[in-house]
């Protein structure tokens, strides 16, 4: 039979130690910072190039109907929305010091954060899908009036496939994310109960 003091002496005599040295840690800090910055830069640069191309097409493209130019504008708005949301998310991460909160508050924060991210991701995808569909539809008008009928039919088939694809992907994403979110929220609620019971003790 051992008492707690004996357990404490077992604990203090343990040889188990971490495998991280300071130099490796410094390297990891630099590489993570670089990787995150590169990812953001790549996404924003890609979207910016696409936006510039769209502006170029809108100005120099040989469109016969204003609806086609409007379709380009709609796509441009979608790209700018994406860039804006990425930058605001980056700023949010930079400022975030939530992990300095008390554990009970932090658990509440995690629950809100999870829900917010889910809503943000699904909303962002929905907005992108809708704007792209609107843009294709607007461009389809010019196709219908100035191209052979089979071109229009092909374009229509493409758009139908696009809508079905977006809907299916969205459904799959929502279901998968929702399941994982529910599991995480359940675990967080369990943790919150544990910490709250500490308060009540």
């Amino acid at each position: 039979m051992k008492d707690f003091d004996e357990l404490k002496s077992i604990w203090s005599g343990q040889q188990i130690s971490h495998q991280i040295n300071f130099e490796d840690l410094k390297k990891e800090i630099k590489s993570r910072k670089k990787a995150f910055g590169n990812k953001l830069l790549l996404e924003v640069t890609g979207m910016s190039i696409l936006s510039m191309m769209l502006i170029g097409i809108a100005i120099y493209g040989d469109f016969r109907l204003w609806s086609s130019q409007l379709s380009i504008l709609v796509l441009l708005v979608a790209c700018l929305y994406y860039i804006g949301s990425q930058i605001s998310h980056f700023k949010y991460i930079q400022k975030d010091d939530s992990f300095l909160q008390k554990p009970t508050e932090y658990i509440v924060y995690l629950k809100h954060y999870k829900n917010k991210r889910f809503l943000f991701n699904t909303t962002r995808y929905l907005i992108f899908s809708i704007t792209a569909t609107i843009a294709f539809t607007l461009y389809l008008i010019e196709f219908y009036f100035f191209n052979p009928i089979w071109h229009s039919l092909l374009a229509l088939i493409f758009e139908i496939i696009w809508v079905v694809f977006c809907w299916k992907i969205m459904k799959f994403y929502r279901e998968r994310e929702q399941q994982s979110l529910t599991e995480i929220i359940d675990s967080l609620e369990k943790l919150q109960t544990q910490f709250n019971s500490t308060e009540e003790a």
Binding site: W11, S17, H18, F22, Q194, T198, E199
Partner: protein, 165 residues
Amino acid sequence: MVDKEVVFQDIFKANSRKIFHLCYGYTGDKNTANDLMQDTFIKVWQNLDKFRNQANVSTWIYRIAVNTCLSWLRTEKRQAKDELNEKIIDTQPEVTSDKHAQVAQLYKCIALLEENERILITLVLDEVPYNEIATIAGISEGNLRVKIHRIKHKLTDLYNRYERL
């Protein structure tokens, strides 16, 4: 920058062992504990300026470590408690002496506690003062004492029960 690195190195040297124990006690897995410890110190580095004027830097670091452990499930699909305990038994290093066996046994028993109990007891075992643990956990010292009293009994019972087997 050099000054920041020196401060960070000192903080790392002074706290890394205890932070590792906390993460290991919470997750029951050495590799995951290493990852969580690394994440904790990366957050410390990113917020070093906020620590400069704090009276007790270790309290802040512990709180970051606790919250990093709590958010482990944010990125990692955690295993059920039973599976976790099985993993601890399987992944313990080759038991070469009684001392190692006792430490392994102790970690196994800690894994049987609830998450918040694991966090509190590892801090107690590492002799972090009660007032500091209360600040880290964000509860009153009185409540903490009651809770710790209960966890100490629970852990001792578990340990003795396993030792008899």
